[in-house]
C-alpha cells in the first residue's frame, strides 16, 4: 500500500501546500480566474504533448507560461482569461477525440492522475516547493507593493515588472504541475478556496498565507483518506472536501475587517 501510494501521496501533498500560495498571490492581484484559465491551457498543452508522444509535463509547462504571460498584453484581464478557459477546454477535448489514446488522455488531464504520478512528478513538485520558498518573500513584497503603492518612477516600475514576470513563470509552473498531477478542477479548487477564506479571516498577510496552506493541506489529507476508504475518484473528493472546509470556516469564524 505504502509503495503503491507513497509517491502520489507526497506529490499531492506538495501541490496542496503550493497551490494555495499561488492562490493568495493571484487573489491579491484580483486575478484568481487566471488559475482556471492557465490550468485549462496547461491541460491542452499536456494533451498536445502526449498526442505527439512527448512527456506531458514540458508541454503543459510551456503552454501555461504562454498563458500566464498573456496577462501583460494590452487589454488583457478577466475577458482574456475567459477566452483562454474556452480555448483550452475546446482544444483539450478536440485533440483528445482525434488522437489514438483519445478519451484516456483527456481524462488524465481533466480529472488528474495523482495515483499514477511517479518520481518525475514528485521531483518537479519538490523543485517547485524549494523555488517558492526561496522566492516567496521577494514575490510577497513585490505583489503587495504593486497592489498597494503607486510605482513612483520608471526604474521602480521596471523592477516590479521584472519580478512580476519571474512570479508569472513560477505560477505557471505550479499550475501546470498541479493540473497534471491532481487534475484541472482540483488545482483550481486549491488555488481559489483556501485564499478565498484566508483573505476574509486572516489578520495579516503572513497569517493569510499560513491559513491558506493549512486549509489546502488539511483538505488534501482528508480527501486522500476519504477517496481511498470510500473507493471514490480523488479529484472530485478533494474539491468537495475543500468546498466544505473553506465554506465552513467562513461561516464559523468571524470576518477580520
Amino acid at each position: 500500500m505504502t509503495e503503491l501510494f507513497g509517491l502520489p501521496f507526497l506529490t499531492g501533498l506538495a501541490m496542496a501546500g503550493l497551490l494555495p500560495i499561488a492562490g493568495v498571490w493571484l487573489r491579491l492581484r484580483g486575478e484568481w480566474l487566471a488559475a482556471l484559465a492557465v490550468a485549462h491551457i496547461a491541460g491542452a498543452g499536456g494533451v498536445v504533448a502526449l498526442a505527439l508522444a512527448l512527456p506531458a509535463l514540458p508541454g503543459a509547462l510551456f503552454a501555461a507560461v504562454l498563458g500566464m504571460l498573456g496577462r501583460h498584453l494590452p487589454g488583457a484581464g478577466n475577458s482574456a482569461y475567459g477566452w483562454l478557459i474556452l480555448a483550452g477546454w475546446a482544444a483539450t477535448l478536440l485533440i483528445a477525440a482525434n488522437s489514438p489514446l483519445g478519451e484516456t488522455l483527456a481524462r488524465q488531464v481533466i480529472e488528474g492522475q495523482l495515483y499514477f504520478t511517479g518520481a518525475l512528478e514528485l521531483g518537479a513538485a519538490a523543485a517547485l516547493v524549494a523555488l517558492t520558498l526561496a522566492l516567496r518573500r521577494r514575490i510577497d513584497r513585490n505583489e503587495l507593493a504593486t497592489r498597494l503603492l503607486p510605482a513612483p518612477d520608471p526604474g521602480e516600475r521596471f523592477r516590479r515588472r521584472r519580478i512580476a514576470l519571474a512570479s508569472d513563470v513560477l505560477l505557471a509552473a505550479v499550475l501546470a504541475a498541479g493540473t497534471l498531477s491532481i487534475g484541472l478542477m482540483a488545482t483550481f479548487a486549491l488555488v481559489f478556496l483556501p485564499a478565498w477564506t484566508a483573505f476574509r479571516q486572516a489578520g495579516d498577510w503572513r497569517r493569510a498565507g499560513r491559513q491558506a496552506v493549512g486549509i489546502g493541506v488539511v483538505g488534501y489529507l482528508a480527501a486522500f483518506a476519504l477517496a481511498l476508504a470510500l473507493d471514490q475518484p480523488f479529484a472530485p473528493v478533494l474539491v468537495a472536501t475543500l468546498l466544505v472546509l473553506a465554506s465552513g470556516i467562513r461561516l464559523i469564524a468571524p470576518r477580520r475587517a
Binding site: L149, P152, D204
Partner: protein, 190 residues
Amino acid sequence: MLLDLRKVVTAPPGASTPRIGPVSLSVDAGEMVALTGPNGAGKSTLLAAITGRAPILSGTCRLAAGTRVQLVEQAHRPDRDLPVSGHDFLAAAGADPHPPAPLNDWLDRRLDAMSGGQRQLLRVWAGLTAPGELVLLDEPSNNLDAAARARLHQLLRERPPHRGLLLVSHDPELLALGCDRQVAMPEGRT
C-alpha cells in the same frame, strides 16, 4: 536641485488634450514646495508627468541623477477582504516600521479595518520614510478630520531632513506650515 520643471506642458495619461501648463518649478533637498490651484487645474496630472505616467508635450522635466521618488496619491478606499496589516503595508513600502504614536497603535490592524484618516496618515508616513529623496504628496489632507489634520501637520513638520517635498494642496492650514515656495497652476486648460 532634485527636481527642475521648465515650462512643462502635459496632458492626462493616454490623452494629448486638454493641455495643462506651462508650469515651471524646482524642488531642492530639504525644501517643501506647494503646488496650488483649483480642482481640475491639473495638479495630479502634473505629478503623473513627473513620475512618467503622463506625457510631457513640451518643456523639460529633470530629476537629479539617482533621485528616487516617493508618491503619495490621493486617498482611496482599499478593497474589503484584503489581509494586509499596517505592518505589512510599511514593509511593502520599505518605510520606517516604527511610526510615532498614535500611528504605531494601528499597525496590528488590517488596512480595511482602519478609518480613512488612519490609512491616509500611514500612507503619508510611508511616503516620508521610504527610500527616496523626493516626495510627492497629492492632497494629503483630503477627508481628514481636525485631529488627523493636526497629526498630518506634525508628520510634515518632523519629516526626515534633506528630503524635497512637492505638496499638492489647496488647504490653507497645510500651506501655512512653512512651505519654502508656492507655485500656482495656470488658470484653465487648452
